[in-house]
Symmetry: none
Subunit: 80 residues, 2 copies
Amino acid sequence: MSQRPVRTDGPVPVYVQIADYIEADIKAGRLRPHDRIPTENAMHAEWGVARTTARRAVNLLRERDLVYTVPQRGTFVSPQ
Amino acid sequence: MSQRPVRTDGPVPVYVQIADYIEADIKAGRLRPHDRIPTENAMHAEWGVARTTARRAVNLLRERDLVYTVPQRGTFVSPQ
DNA sequence: GTACATTTGTTCGTATGTATA
DNA sequence: GTATACATACGAACAAATGTA
């Protein structure tokens, strides 16, 4: 299903790989300001990772100021 | 109230224990086809577990094809 | 016709424990 | 010892639909 595999046997942590995928979507305009990024459960389903790992990817994107999270609503692409 | 305790300190996850209890009820005929199984809130009350944990038990029963869920109505024992 | 309670659906927040590299 | 990753389990808040009073 996913054209974008995550590798657990490589040097790059899974949560970084996922964050990089989403960052690429943002940079490419496939995700635009205020679009909702996939939920933690969606990432769990898409990549087969634990929800906690999906959270770490989101945290990383937040640290990069690429997204903002609204509790109980979702995580969205930052404006600009 | 409950003659059937759940144990959090054992090897079997709580949600599996609950699913197993309900499966036993179905197999024993205490719950029959199209009977409604306990709601998530009822499981919460009966076993003192979080609603999210009760949901996982229901999800497991659904994966076992023992029940089906009607949104806003409840979850019911599968026919046959 | 309206208001309320019930019930499942969804999503994020948080914590713990286990295993592995 | 630290970082990564998974599984489990608690909770909170809100949405949406249904059924009932």
